[in-house]
Symmetry: C2
Subunit: 107 residues, 2 copies
Amino acid sequence: MLFAKAIADETRQEIMGHLCCVWLSVNDVVERLGGRVSQPTVSHHLKILQEADLVLVRQEGRQRFYTLNQARLTVCCGTLLRTFAPDYAGEAPAIRPDTIVGPDADS
Amino acid sequence: MLFAKAIADETRQEIMGHLCCVWLSVNDVVERLGGRVSQPTVSHHLKILQEADLVLVRQEGRQRFYTLNQARLTVCCGTLLRTFAPDYAGEAPAIRPDTIVGPDADS
DNA sequence: ACATTATATAGACGATTGTCAATATGTCAA
DNA sequence: TTGACATATTGACAATCGTCTATATAATGT
């Protein structure tokens, strides 16, 4: 489960928080981390998040904008619940009917 | 979030799978892992899961029985959803009304 | 008290991970 | 084409992590 490893790091969680509901360029993210993390490190974390499909990317000119993939995160939580909390996961997953999500096919 | 780090390891996930819905002694877990992991390693993983409150423990004679804490896992998934997928977490969390869960107070 | 069984802890070691500085790649403007 | 800017990649290094063997602790029975 790439998802679990992706969310396991605190810096990554902080980045995810900043990318929630908004599109930010890499440098925007670096700035919001208050200079505590270098640009290459942020790029590195974004790559890991991308491999877990936890961020969406949009290129615009020379900058690249990222945002949190909430749909994917919701699917992963659903999988987690159905796998490890079957006694609590009876209710339908909290996914909007009109939402298109990719396959849940990480190992 | 101790939760995220706890579920990030594959061996731990496998242990969680075995502890889902059943109580197992440490040696039971070791056996179900097919001898791939030593007893001290299993104890180590169980300790990490316990620190994240993801397992419940019951002592009986000289053996200690563990089971997955599904309620806790459900709470953590709820926190995750509300934090990182607020646009999808509108629905009520999938927690039974009569369920008693501890405070969600990991960092 | 001693041996036996079940689990936990300590210490060591290799593998993985997070980080940075340096550099490469890519994009646009002059 | 050259320079400036934005991001990605490389290589190195320290820190963390997963694993093992050896040993300690705890509980039970003889």
